[in-house]
Amino acid sequence: MKKIYLSIVVLSIVFFSGCSDEFLDVDQTESISTQDVELFNNDAGAATFVTAIYSKFLDFNMSSFSWNGVSSIASDDADKGSSPGDTGSDKDVMDALTYNPSSLSITEIFSANYEGINRCNQALNVIPQLDKADATLRARLMGEAKFLRAFMYFTLVKTYGGVPIIDRLPNPSSQEDRVMQLTRKSKEEVYAFIEKDLNDAIEVLFEKSQYSSSERGRASKGAAYALLAKVNLYQKNWQKVVDNCNLVTGYSIVPDYASMFRLAGENGPESIFEIQGVGSIPIKGIQNYSVSQGARGAGGWGWGFNTPSESLLNAYEVGDVRKNATIIFAGTTLYDGRVVPTTVENPRYNYKAYSSAIPDADQSDTNIRYLRYAEVLLMKAEALNELNQTSVAIPLLNQIRLRAGLGNTTAVSQADVRIAIWKERRVELAFEHDRFFDVVRTGQAVAAFAIHGKTFVAGKHEVFPLPQLFINETAGLSSQNPGY
């Protein structure tokens, strides 16, 4: 008996000292450990790392309320909308250009894009390790990640000017990586980085037509050329704009402008790159994108923000079909038969964000159209005009006007054509998150905002302030934009 107990003691001591560390190795059950990367070492597994990047574009902080605040409400195309007392956190100050480095919209767009960039870097880090996945697929997925990273840096550089370039997964304990994360690069360096990513992507991406019908939303070679052309446009590299626009092939202008912004028109022949929202079960759409812009008040269905401004309304020529395709007017009937009563709180709402099937749902079936062939034609026209080929530019502009139900442009001189193209961009691309950056790019901002009844301070409002959170973190490594 005694021996038994002594043996227990001895055995237990031997047991515990012998395999103690093994005993303490516990397999994770609540989440998949990053040590089990092998689980993803196949075609489908590799693809998930890129899907997560696309998924970022569906997040509230990335593409929805704050993004409307920065890219739309701040511009002369839109007003805050909604009830006078509902500020939407900061949409009143976004509208009035009185935002500050702590404004929510400004903070969210910064962090959301870096969250997306992290997902790109994670994909670019892990996919090369997944050697059991198809090599062509892996190369293409890497290309998609680079396209999306370029897309997000383009958003950042347009919004904030030069920003830190995070081109790899930072090691939290590396001082060098810490400096990388906290130091602004110049605007030019960011543009160079974007161009490099896009050129890498172009090498490996498929053409849109090469994707299966269920994957038309992926980044394509055409999308990369179109984005590269737009990046060139922002840097006034006119010849490159023309060259890259010429490489965007396989697309065409659809006859009915309004149809593009409805469910049936998604990913159509004109579409180059869209963010995909799907309203059928399981629902996965852009969080609150439709409902936040839906009509508010009795008979409405949404929060009523980001409403078309008087200035935009006045920009449409008589007979422009795009006006009624872009703006919901109170007291009218929509294409699907929905009656918008006059009791709603604002006179106008954004039609391009409207979801017919589920207008009041948190996530709707609405897509965001980021790159369309129409814009490629307008970019090419603008560049050709700047390259003194005004006569070649005019037919491109007219192609867009014709589809809108308008006659040919009356502009002839280079200067007039330039103005005409800019104006055409405004009405063609209204509420497609382009206007604010476009008026800054083209130098029209001060005048445009004066018409809109807001004061745009030259030398300050070209870029938004960097978030105060970021400035606090940098401890002097980066400085705030002038005027903030």
Partner: protein, 1003 residues
């Protein structure tokens, strides 16, 4: 085998049989019960023996020789050995300290020989307070222990021992129930507890190493004793009602105030309805508890068996709670050397929870609305053109009907906790004992929650049954959520205890052992289904595939956590007056990375019993004076998981087709070097007994620092990592002192009394941060966009749980608008405040001191006692008051005295409709003193009857409170999180006053 051992033992004991003869006897206490373990020494024969389980002994000695008999807690005596069976009665030791044995980790110790700060509470003190949870019963009874209780049935109180040392998970003390480490004691019947020991300082805690940083509470349940079967019945029943209520404005005052706020005449000033919503959602609570226990012992078996049942109909309508407990504790003396003990407890609780925001809704809802309209529909906030509430009209607030809310809320929870253990004690040698103990705990929980979505919509939107308002056909008619949780934890410890006195002055006890603890994976299943059958008995039909109606399905197995430990303790006593305790524990935890999982936790305790010194021998008025000191390091492993994981949830996207694709990324940064939080503590204490031990007390001072507090740090914003990462970043200090004093006196045989009290003071401070960007912990959510607490890098120098908000600066006499101080010191209105610069730290939810008092008298068969508890220095936030938005009710005091153009010096600002910013306007003092318990009992004299003893009693629990807080109760445990709803009265269950009548019978 057995024979061999016996022969071996016989050989060992052979010398003892060689002289004299066998003297037999029995040692009993004054009640005639056998005293086991008493030591008998034959002075001439140099032999010794112990009494067995029943007090019997055999010793080889000569008749006429002097036998010395001693036993802990009794006066030692010398007696002449006699022929025949000697009957020896020991009287209780006068030295009360000597009498007491306290439980320390992995053993017990005479209180006087203990070098550490342990508060030991006996059964009577814990069970006197008629509450469900034992932790609530100790409130105010132990110095240095703060208990934030809640009268919500089934709620676990927060227990903070010597200050809060950490901000993240793992704030609660470790409970050890009969050797089993566990997280809460909700399943323990207070009546089954025999002792409740609170380990407070490093010297006592270090034996529990990594889990000890927040203190340890050891609970020992009852054992059988005596030589006949004892049956005890305890039964009581009582009523409960809110201790304090808040007077709300009546209908006409409400209308007056709301019209002023809206600057309209929406509401008629002559209202036909005046609903008291608090009254409408509450009832007089009732509760009752019945316990029966059977216990006893024989030569070889001690047994204890109990069944208990608790039933409560809570003050909130529809909230019912019941708990049934069952326990058996048995000890079998298999041989002289081997004892096996077994315990098993079963606890089952059922409850029908109700949403506590009904209290907030009752506070906010307008009194002009009837509970039900004349058409039978629930009243809702629609006001008609006549200025009265009606079935149609315009909606004037967003508050639901709290009565409807409770009626529609349909949830049931059931849980079962099984705890059991097996313990072996084997005396290898007289001085060497081996103990092996295994304990397991199984927990299972299930619930359902049924939401009658369509009816709720109709109630809220269409009380007039208008045909134009139709519930959309594509929405869920109803939604049913079912959940299942379970886990199994186990613990195995093996240790040796060696105890020997050398040269009669060196008393040594050494304990050494190993322990394995496994906190099993929590398994969680949850399914949400739509459009289930109206009859709840048809929710789950056999053979039906519910796949198509499932809205959500979660199946999670949370990570298992394992702990492996080695521990040793050396206790040394020199000449009965100098005491040394050294403790070392080494723990390995699976929570940390391979190279950082082991931690070593040493502690040292010293004691000096001054009264045993010769120079004190003449000081008759001082019966005991003992100085204690200790130093040690303790760990806390309850930190968030530190393994890096792939994020897979919610990262899906369609990419142009109809297939939703899965997404994966990594959204965390980990610090692989994350390891134990280490708390270092030094403390000094003094115990004393004066004036014939009538005045007893102790005084302790401590300094406790957690050097590497783990907080969530936010990775740099450009890293794109949005989830915070735990890292060692902070230093938290707790410094304080605690004092306890008690006077006990017996005036004559009929009358005795006591008066006692304790006081503790603690200063809690976040003293530093290592270079890191803290992800701000923004807490104290008021659910209206306002937050009241923060923990970030500006919090250094503040106590944990600090409020962070704007400072109210009175109202503008010309407009009645509230003003706040901005950073520049100017009083401004809320729309121009800057959230980044204008907020201030304005105090913490943690009190700086708390105190308890007790007094009692026993006269003949009557006993009377009063206990009280109070805290000072805490702030509480009147969260429900800070909610007001358009059309909601206000307190009577506000509705009668507010700014108007004609009353610019009113006590309150002008009525407003904006959500008020979080400010000191709603921050109040949390100081209170409450009489926790008044108890009056009478022992019915029962001589020679079937019933041995019967005590009947009346208790008043929480009968009185003095508080400065204008809300219901300043004691606000909330979610138990200092950065959550703790200290905020919002959706809070009120403190209750209870009257209980009961009886205790012994057979």
């Amino acid at each position: 085998m057995r024979n061999i051992i016996f022969s071996f033992l016989a050989l060992l004991l052979l010398p003892a049989y060689m002289s004299g003869q066998v003297i037999k006897g029995k040692v009993v206490d004054k009640e005639g019960l056998g005293i086991p373990g008493a030591i008998i020494i034959a002075t001439e024969s140099k032999t010794s023996a112990d009494t067995d389980f029943d007090g019997n002994f055999n010793i080889n000695a000569k008749i006429g020789e002097v036998l010395k008999i001693s036993m802990l807690g009794f006066e030692a005596i010398s007696i002449t050995a006699a022929d025949g069976v000697m009957n020896i009665t020991l009287s209780d030791s006068k030295d009360t300290e000597l009498k007491e044995v306290i439980i320390i980790g992995y053993g017990s110790r005479k209180k006087i020989d203990n070098t550490s700060a342990i508060t030991s509470l006996r059964a009577e003190e814990v069970s006197k307070m008629k509450v469900l949870n034992a932790s609530q019963a100790i409130q105010g009874k132990a110095a240095g222990v703060q208990v934030i209780s809640s009268d919500l049935p089934g709620a676990a109180p927060s227990v903070i021992i010597r200050g809060l040392g950490t901000a993240l998970g793992g704030r609660t003390p470790l409970y050890i129930v009969d050797g089993m480490p566990t997280e809460n004691i909700n399943n323990i019947n207070t009546n089954d507890i025999t002792a409740y020991e609170i380990l407070k300082d490093a010297s006592s805690l270090a034996i529990y190493g990594t889990r000890a940083a927040n203190g340890v509470i050891i609970i020992t349940t009852k054992q059988g004793r005596g030589n006949k079967i004892a049956v005890e019945i305890e039964t009581f029943a009582g009523f409960r009602a809110p201790l304090r209520t808040v007077k709300m404005a009546g209908s006409n005052k409400y209308s007056h105030y709301s019209n002023a706020a809206l600057q309209t005449t929406t509401f008629s000033q002559d209202q036909p309805v005046n609903t008291d919503w608090f009254d409408a959602i509450t009832r007089t609570g009732t509760y009752a508890q019945n316990n029966i226990s059977v216990s006893g012992s024989s030569e070889t078996v001690k047994y204890f068996f109990s069944v208990g049942n608790y039933e409560e109909k809570a003050v909130l309508n529809g909230l019912d709670f019941s708990r049934t407990t069952f326990r058996t504790n048995n000890e079998f003396k298999i041989s002289k050397k081997l004892t096996v003990s077994q315990n098993l407890s079963f606890g089952s609780s059922n409850s029908t929870p109700k949403p506590l925001d009904a209290f907030t809704n009752a506070y906010k809802q307008s009194p002009i609305i009837p509970v039900r309209f004349p058409n039978g529909e629930y009243g809702v906030p629609f006001v008609g053109g006549d200025g009265f509430a009606g079935v149609a009209g315009s909606s004037f607030n967003n508050v639901g009907n709290p009565v409807a809310q409770l009626d529609y809320f349909n949830e049931q929870q059931r849980s079962i906790t099984l705890q059991g253990g097996l313990k072996l004690d084997y005396d290898i040698l007289d001085s060497l004992k081996f103990t092996s103990q295994f304990n397991g705990e199984y927990y299972s929980w299930k619930n359902y929650n049924f939401e009658d979505s369509k009816r709720i919509f109709e109630t809220n939107n269409n009380p007039g049954r208008l045909s134009s308002i139709v519930y959309p056909a594509d929405r869920n008619i109803n939604v049913l959520t079912k959940g299942r949780n379970q886990y199994f934890n186990w613990n195995l410890s093996n240790y040796l205890t060696y105890n020997k006195v050398f040269a009669s002055v060196h008393d040594i006890e050494i304990t050494a052992g190993t322990e394995t603890s496994v906190r099993g994976p929590r398994e969680e299943l949850r399914v949400v289904r739509r459009n289930v059958n109206e009859n709840s008995n048809y929710w789950s039909l056999a053979g039906v595939d519910y796949g198509a109606t499932v809205l959500n399905f979660n199946d999670a197995v949370f990570n298992e956590s394992r702990l492996l430990s080695y521990f040793g303790r050396f206790q040394y006593k020199l000449m009965d007056k100098y005491l040394v305790t050294g403790t070392l524990r080494r723990d390995g935890s699976s929570n940390f990375g391979k190279d950082f999982r082991w931690g070593t936790f040493p502690a040292l305790g010293l004691g000096w019993i001054i009264t045993k010194e010769n120079f004190m021998a003449d000081v008759k008025s001082v019966n005991l004076l003992k100085l204690r000191g200790s130093w040690g390091k303790l760990g806390n492993q309850n930190v968030p998981l530190n393994n890096q994981a792939y994020s897979v949830a919610g990262l899906t996207s369609y990419l142009g087709g109809s297939i939703l694709l899965d997404g994966t990324t990594v959204n965390s940064q980990i610090d692989p070097s994350l390891s134990w939080e280490v708390t270092e503590e030094a403390s000094i204490g003094l115990d004393f007994e004066l004036l014939n031990s009538r005045l007893k007390g102790s005084f302790d001072v401590y300094d406790k620092t957690t050097n590497n507090v783990i907080l969530n740090t936010r990775p740099l914003i450009t890293s794109g990592i949005s989830s915070a990462s735990p890292a060692h970043v902070g230093e938290v200090s707790n410094r304080g002192y605690e004092a306890a004093l008690r006077w006990d006196d017996q005036i004559n045989d009929n009358l005795s009394y006591w008066v006692g009290g304790n006081f503790s003071s603690n200063k809690n401070e976040l003293t530093g941060l290592i270079n890191a960007t803290l992800a701000p912990v923004i807490g104290g959510d008021l659910a209206n966009g306002q937050f009241t607490k923060i923990l970030d890098n500006t919090s250094v120098g503040q106590p944990l749980g600090s409020f962070f908000m704007y400072e109210y600066a009175g109202f503008d006499p010309s407009t009645g608008e509230k003003l706040y101080l901005n950073a520049a010191g100017n009083a401004v209105t809320q729309d121009v405040l800057n959230a980044n610069t204008d907020k201030k730290y304005v105090g913490s939810i943690l009190p700086t001191s708390n105190y308890g008092v007790t007094l009692g008298v026993i006269y003949k068969n009557i006993d009377f006692s009063v206990d009280g508890y109070g805290t000072a220095g805490a702030k509480v936030y009147n969260g429900k008051k800070a909610q007001r938005f358009t059309g909601e009710n206000v307190e009577d005091s506000l509705a009668t005295n507010f700014w108007t153009a004609n009353n610019t010096t009113a006590a309150n600002p002008a009525p407003f409709n904006q959500v008020p910013v979080a400010s000191t306007f709603y921050l109040e003092s949390g100081d209170f003193f409450r009489v926790n318990n008044i108890s009056l009992g009478y022992k019915i004299p029962l001589e020679g009857m079937f019933i041995n003893a019967c005590r009947i009693y009346v208790n008043a629990i929480n009968p009185f409170i003095t508080q400065r807080f204008s809300g219901f109760s300043p004691e606000l445990n909330g979610d138990g999180n200092p950065y959550g709803s703790q200290g905020i009265e919002l959706n809070a269950y009120p403190a209750l006053r209870s009257i209980v009548v009961g009886a205790n019978l012994k057979f």
